[in-house]
């Protein structure tokens, strides 16, 4: 009898809309940090909305193709640049040389900026030497020192890679240096108490705990590399995506400009996804301790 009555009570409550229970939320979802929750659906909608807007303004001829060609025109141009080429090279050749420049500079920065940043973190003298020049040139736009690079090193491949390298170097060195600081004094003390030598402390404790920040530095660095690519390819280039975009702009070929932007964007975004994946795989402890 009691059970029946109990059930009846629940039924009548749920039938009455006024008493329908509200879904409880975790503390922090309400009255928490603003901006909680999943935003992926909104992002996807935004992309589609922008594409739709693009189609709309071009199909209705509100914007002339000279200023903004329609997606179909861009796609046709893309096929044409892939098969026939633009400015004496196919898109593949342009992309290849640009990738070589950006990743060449990136790898050079990895093998120089990361060790120097770490040395700056663990050695007073190295920090004293490298701190002023890095902090001075870091905020300069690469275009400002581009003329000097040309005057000193000419207009060859070296100057292009050097310009990108310089832009990548500073953020990467600074991240590596900051990473060294992320080790706690207790961790260092613990290692010494277990019989570690000073060099073991650096290699097996400090370097490891700097890894998350070094990785962040690499992500920032490669991003800076892509932004500097166009500046680097302003110098007497005959090939490269950056060159292609600049050259197309001179002929008001905005469809080729857009193709170039999409190529750079795709590679930059793809590489960033790869780096994020590597970070999750190799540094699973990041942000957890």
């Amino acid at each position: 009898m009691r059970e029946i009555g109990h059930r009846a009570g629940i039924q009548s409550a749920s039938e009455d809309r006024k008493f329908r229970p509200k879904r409880s939320v975790a503390p922090g979802e309400q009255f928490g940090v603003p901006g909680q929750g999943d935003s992926r659906l909104i992002s996807i909608s935004t992309i589609f909305a922008l594409l739709l807007l693009w189609v709309a303004v071009t199909e209705t001829q509100i914007v002339k193709p000279l200023f903004l060609p329609s997606p179909t025109l861009v796609y046709e141009k893309f096929i044409l640049v892939v098969n026939v080429g633009f400015a004496n090279s196919t898109l593949f050749e342009h992309t290849l040389i640009s990738l070589y420049r950006v990743f060449g500079a990136f790898l050079l920065a990895c093998v120089t900026a990361i060790p120097i940043g770490i040395m700056m973190g663990v050695n007073r003298i190295v920090r004293g030497i490298f701190d002023p020049p890095i902090e001075f040139y870091r905020p300069l736009p690469p275009l400002a020192y581009l003329p000097l690079v040309i005057i000193w090193f000419g207009i060859g491949e070296f100057s292009k890679v050097l310009l990108i390298y310089l832009a990548i170097f500073a953020p990467m060195a600074i991240s590596a240096r900051a990473g060294v600081r992320s080790v706690s004094i207790e961790q260092i003390h613990a290692a010494y108490s277990m019989g570690a030598t000073a060099s073991q402390v650096i290699r097996r404790v400090i370097l490891k705990s700097a890894l998350p920040e070094i990785f962040t530095g690499m992500r920032i660095g490669i991003g800076v590399g892509w932004t500097t690519l166009v500046a680097g390819e302003m110098v007497a280039s005959t090939r490269g995506v950056g060159f292609m975009v600049l050259n197309a702009a001179e002929f008001l070929a905005s469809d080729v400009v857009i193709v170039g932007i999409f190529v750079i964007g795709t590679f930059a975004f793809g590489f960033d996804l790869l780096m994020r994946y590597l970070e999750r795989t190799f540094i699973p402890w990041k942000g957890k301790v």
């Binding site: 706690s184 003390h189 010494y192 108490s193 277990m194 073991q200 705990s209 301790v289």
Partner: protein, 273 residues
């Protein structure tokens, strides 16, 4: 192995905020930790408890006097003194057993040998089933137990523990107190233990040392046997409610509160001046 640890007229003076100014952190400390004893230090904040531990660990050197382990003077950290910190200080890129064997790895002990030692120490703290877990998957109490196992791995003469249970909840804390007493009675190692909890201090110490601030010095010292009572009866709550336990607790709390009050009055006088 049955060496004892001596602090012989030890003083520590740090440079103050202004040039020429000096802060006396420790003054005229004479303390002997006998082989196999469990020494616990309590005292008002800022009385130099951690400075004392840093001296024994070799993280700092004394301005006066000397610190001796057996007949060897301590001047640097080393594997003959294991340290357990308030925050676990484990290495998050290594799993549990790799953390425990890290010290032996540094010293070049072959993998199989160090694995066996590390596994034994993990079993000692009850974590034999968590060898391959990541550090961040463990609770605070478990992380602290890994810290204890790690400190034991280089087979030190003494364990130095700086408020290792301060960040744990009350129940976990009691469990680990009992566990630590078991580890101590099994390994017969010296333990030097800092805490803010007078009850914890009384329960575990064979020798309880009370320190006073400004300058940091030892004012009282008691020989206790509550830990032996627990190891016989296995009833921690009963030991902690015995009349002489409660009487001792109030006496020592009285000393520390007295120090805190004097400190606050002195601080007030400085602020008013």
């Amino acid at each position: 192995m049955a060496a004892s640890l001596h602090l012989d007229q030890v003083g520590v003076t740090f440079p103050g905020r202004r040039p020429g100014e000096e802060v006396v952190a420790l003054e005229d400390i004479n303390l002997t930790i006998e082989a196999g004893s469990f020494v616990v230090v309590v005292g008002a904040s800022g009385c130099g408890k951690t400075t004392l531990l840093n001296l024994m660990a070799g993280f700092i050197s004394p301005s006066q006097g000397q610190v001796l382990l057996g007949n060897k003077s301590i001047s640097a950290p080393g594997p003959d003194r294991g340290v357990v910190f308030q925050k676990h200080a484990l290495l998050p890129w290594l799993n549990v057993i790799e953390n425990v064997e890290f010290g032996l790895d540094l010293q070049g002990v072959p993998k199989e040998e160090r694995r066996t030692i590390a596994a034994n120490n993990l079993a000692l703290v009850g974590l034999q089933d968590f060898q391959k877990h990541a550090i961040y998957q463990l609770s605070g109490g478990m992380q602290q137990r890994v810290g204890i196992a790690r400190a034991l791995t280089s087979n030190p003469a003494i364990l130095l523990m700086d408020e290792p249970m301060a960040a744990l909840d009350a129940l976990t804390r009691e469990t680990i107190q009992e566990l630590l007493l078991d580890v101590w009675s099994k390994t017969q190692k010296m333990i030097f233990f800092i805490t803010h909890s007078v009850e914890e201090a009384l329960f575990m110490a064979t020798k309880l040392v009370v320190m006073s601030p400004r300058p940091g010095r030892i004012t009282h010292s008691y020989e206790l046997d509550f830990q032996a009572r627990f190891l016989r009866s296995r009833d921690a709550r009963a030991v902690k409610s015995e009349p002489d336990f409660i009487r001792m607790r109030e006496t020592i709390l009285g000393i520390i509160y007295g120090d805190e009050k004097t400190l606050n009055v002195a601080q007030g006088a400085i602020n008013n001046a």
